[in-house]
């Protein structure tokens, strides 16, 4: 039955499929990776969830990506950042750099914590994941610029950005800043930990870049009406 449906839906499929191609037929459903979804008892499910579960028993499911796990330590934002840092498909190296970064952030913060007095202890944030999330939040631009052509000239027009685009820009700026503008001989984990800690307290070059983008958008607000969407 499933094979018959796939034949009807696909416009054309090549005889030879590439091994690492991720273009699935839309008939395939996403896998559910969190353990909590399966541990929910029958009584707590809403009618939509029950429908979804029944649908999953008959439809084919995509293969799970190797970067995602069902463990409680899995973090979507972290996975995205690791993928963006990865070069030439070296996922293990990118992941190791990420774990070393988290370790070095935690070491610096815990050292500060243990040397601080009891009043200061409450202020210090030691969780590297919280610092990472907050730092990226602080780096996200609120408004962006688009190059729009009007009357033969290109104008930089301020536009609202989608959430995905903002997240992408924050991560991209962070990675390029650490790769290009720091000393050549320091390790990436060191550079990243310094930049993330600075962004957490709203300092550093990435935050500066975000502010410059905001200023440009503010300067070009006269052209805002060129946007038609």
């Amino acid at each position: 039955m499933a094979a018959f449906m796939t034949n009807l839906l696909k416009p054309w499929s090549p005889r030879l499929t590439l091994v690492r191609w991720t273009r699935y037929n839309p008939y395939y459903l996403e896998p559910e990776t969190s353990r909590d979804a399966y541990n929910k008892p029958e009584t707590e499910l809403t009618p939509e969830e029950i429908n979804e579960r029944d649908l999953k028993t008959v439809r084919p499911i995509k293969a799970a990506v190797s970067g995602v796990s069902s463990s409680g330590f899995n973090d979507q934002l972290m996975n995205k950042f690791v993928n963006m840092m990865m070069q030439e498909g070296k996922k293990i190296l990118a992941r190791e750099i990420m774990t070393e970064t988290l370790e070095s952030i935690k070491r610096k913060q815990v050292e500060k914590y243990h040397k601080a007095g009891p009043a200061a202890k409450m202020e210090i944030e030691c969780n590297p994941y919280a610092i990472f999330h907050q730092a990226l939040e602080n780096c996200k631009p609120v408004i962006g610029l688009a190059s729009i052509q009007k009357g033969g000239k290109f104008y930089q027009v301020p536009i609202p950005l989608s959430d995905n685009r903002r997240r992408f820009l924050a991560m991209k700026w962070m990675i390029t800043e650490c790769r290009d503008h720091k000393h050549r001989r320091t390790h990436m984990c060191e550079k990243l930990s310094q930049e993330l800690l600075a962004a957490f307290s709203s300092e550093g070059n990435v935050i500066k870049r975000k502010h410059e983008l905001h200023k440009m958008a503010e300067a070009n607000r006269a052209y805002a009406h060129y946007r038609w969407w």
């Binding site: 463990s71 774990t99 815990v110 050292e111 914590y113 590297p128 994941y129």
Partner: protein, 400 residues
């Protein structure tokens, strides 16, 4: 155990007597009830007993704190690098009391030091805690007033040597001046008081113009080695020979002589292969290195008045596969024949109690930050992923 309780009661009596005598502040003290010393356990995973001689089965699985003074003298170079990072982060040095170290300490307490030195060897899989157990036993030896000869990692002497000079003493051997002088400097920090009391028994000629006469203190000998880097490897050899001769002999001011603890981490380096090459690109064998040659003589049990505590190590070893850990496999035939007979002490992964203790220690030091790692499920996941191996658990918890 009874001695321990007795000392506790005596301490109570002393504190009570002290309170009775300071009557000027008597009123304040009456408000604060004369409380007996708190029991030696602060919590499930910590103990207040910081003297390794008093550690017993009761303290197994608990962490004891090393005082900074002892740390600076006993371990100027002895602790593994990851442990040093942990010391810096947590602002304290805590070592877990485990069964292999306790076994070794009990052997050391009961041994007869008029007989030839007994050789003990820690062995076990990678990351099980052999080096830390060695350091624990060494701390015990230091607190008992022994002379501590600690080579933190013998593998560092057989690889990555920047300067390899032909030996001044014997033409077929090679010297390693940097490693030897660095080690002598740390040796001096550990053993300053004892070294100034011991004297040399023969005259040593280093070069045409320099020599050390008979009857000079060993501290001067070590100074000579630190100052004149070229002859430092020969100084190490002379020092080892002197210590071998004088351990167990009665010295001035004492009836019995001092006891010598030779602690070598990574003993299998002495009989393995080196990664060093001579100028004609041929491989240097370990016996062609002065330091290794002299250390091998130290490993023989032809001297009295001390003990040889060693541990095997695959992590720093050269040309050995990753999964070997048994003494026969790591030492090779020559090594095993040279070290035979020895007392093997196996070191294994954490038991349930020890892993519980480790988890609680990390929680106490605010090290486990991820909210999932603080739950019961997260703890089970960590222990499963690491298979209760101390090193792997530490690396996992580092990024969580």
């Amino acid at each position: 155990m009874t001695l321990h309780r007795l000392s506790l009661r005596l301490r109570q009596a002393v504190t009570q007597a002290r309170h009775l005598h300071s009557s000027r502040r008597g009123q304040q003290l009456e408000a604060v009830a004369v409380e007996p010393e708190l029991p030696k356990e602060l919590s499930f995973f910590r103990t207040r007993e910081s003297d390794p001689a008093c550690h017993a089965e009761v303290h197994m699985g608990q962490y004891y704190t090393l005082s900074p003074v002892h740390l600076r003298t006993v371990f100027p170079h002895g602790l593994p690098s990851r442990f040093q990072l942990q010391m810096k982060t947590f602002n304290e040095t805590c070592v877990m009391v485990r069964q292999p170290a306790l076994e070794l300490i009990s052997h050391l307490k009961k041994a007869d030091y008029s007989k030839p030195a007994v050789r003990y060897m820690f062995y076990g899989a990678n990351g099980c805690g052999k080096t830390i157990s060695l350091c624990h036993a060494l701390h015990y030896c230091y607190t008992q007033g022994w002379l501590v000869l600690h080579i933190p990692d013998a593998h560092l002497w057989v690889k990555n040597c920047k300067e390899l000079l032909p030996s001044t003493f014997s033409p077929s051997r090679f010297d390693q001046p940097i490693e030897a002088s660095h080690w002598l400097r740390n040796f001096k920090i550990t053993n300053e008081p004892l070294l100034s009391k011991l004297k040399t028994t023969q005259r040593y000629v280093w070069t045409k113009r320099e020599s050390t006469e008979e009857g000079r203190t060993l501290a001067e000998l070590v100074e000579q080695g630190v100052a004149r880097v070229r002859t430092s490897s020969d100084v190490v050899g002379a020092l080892l020979k002197e210590l071998r001769l004088q351990a167990g002999q009665p010295m001035e001011g004492r009836q019995e002589g001092f006891r010598l603890a030779v602690a070598v981490d990574g003993v299998n380096a002495l009989w393995g292969r080196t990664s060093l090459k001579k100028e004609d690109k041929s491989v240097v064998a370990p016996e062609e290195l002065t330091l290794i040659h002299n250390l091998r003589k130290m490993m023989k049990n032809d001297w009295c008045g001390g003990a040889v505590i060693s541990s095997l190590s695959q992590t720093g070893s050269l040309f050995k596969p990753k999964d070997v850990y048994l003494p026969q496999e790591l030492l090779g035939e020559d090594g095993f024949d040279d070290m035979d007979p020895f007392v093997p002490v196996p070191v294994s992964n954490y038991s349930e109690k020890e892993s519980e203790s480790c988890y609680l220690y990390y929680m106490d030091r605010n090290w486990l930050q991820h909210p999932h790692s603080r739950t019961e499920e997260g703890k089970k996941e960590l222990l499963f992923l690491s298979n209760r191996n101390p090193n792997v658990l530490e690396r996992l918890c580092a990024s969580l």
